[in-house]
Symmetry: C2
Subunit: 171 residues, 2 copies
């Protein structure tokens, strides 16, 4: 049984009555989210292009990779292409899916599809009115250091940067 | 201005009216969450101890590291200790904070403090009635492969495992 509490522009909140595999029945506060795509934009010289974006829920500006919610009917790849150009003004010759992550499976069904984009060429940046961000190109190794020292704290961003870094070390 | 929509056992949902740094005022659907701690439990031989846990919001069982919400007044370290023992039945000689991540800063303030635990000794597993999970020890390198091939998809788990893996390669 699902009791809908709220249906907003971004999230839907339900209290869902669920019988677990052990037979116990519980009410679970569950956020339903359309999902998102995120992109590690990588230049041929190993520079990654981050953004520093204002996030109210995080209490200020945080480092992220370009990302955004899936529009209705939009594929994750189309969303990744769109957000890459809108947020940082680049197009990519190639997108490779790194992984699709559950961000907060204890209470939300959000999945973020995380891509690496290469073959970057200039496009046209076009921010929404509620997007406040600065574009920050950095060597990949420096970005990985910024994870270790706590300056980069966004989960999808860490997953994307570390995945690309490990692939580069192994492959 | 904050309009509270829902106050549950896990999440609080507000619609918060915010003036962004660019002067634009917007209503933001914001999940307030108490925060959590997560632990990469690592044996001396490089084995990491994962769990395979039922997560309704993820649609089934997923691989994770032990983790849980902060109780009121509980420090992240105390929470990490508690969840390590309750979920997998181990105590640790040493905890090291790897990073504190924002899981979904577009709509939630949840921070997960991710630790590495070493010096493991047997304790007493004690699951809540709504926890359905299996304990799965694995070599770290195999766990990292399971990220690359898409079998491990939980964000905090990927961040913890990849952080430990990169530290081991560099340090």
């Amino acid at each position: 049984m699902t009791k809908n509490i709220f249906k907003g522009k971004v999230v839907t909140l339900n209290v869902e009555t669920v019988t677990l595999p052990n037979g116990v029945t519980v009410d679970l506060e569950t956020i339903r989210h359309p999902g998102a795509a995120a992109v590690v934009p990588m230049k041929d010289d190993g520079t990654v292009i981050l953004i520093r974006q204002f996030r109210h829920a995080a209490g200020g500006f945080i480092y992220e990779i370009p990302a955004g919610k899936l529009n209705p009917g939009e594929t994750p790849l189309a969303c990744a292409c769109r957000e890459l150009e809108e947020e940082i003004g680049y197009r990519a010759g190639s997108f490779e899916l790194l992984t699709s992550i559950f961000t907060a499976p204890g209470f939300a069904d959000e999945v973020i599809h995380v891509y690496r984009a290469t073959g970057l060429t200039p496009g046209r940046q076009q921010l929404d009115r509620d997007e406040v961000l600065e574009v920050i190109p950095l060597p990949l190794a420096e970005a990985v250091d910024m994870i270790a020292d706590g300056r980069i704290r966004d989960a999808k961003t860490i997953v994307g940067l570390q995945s690309v870094y490990i692939m580069g070390k192994v492959g």
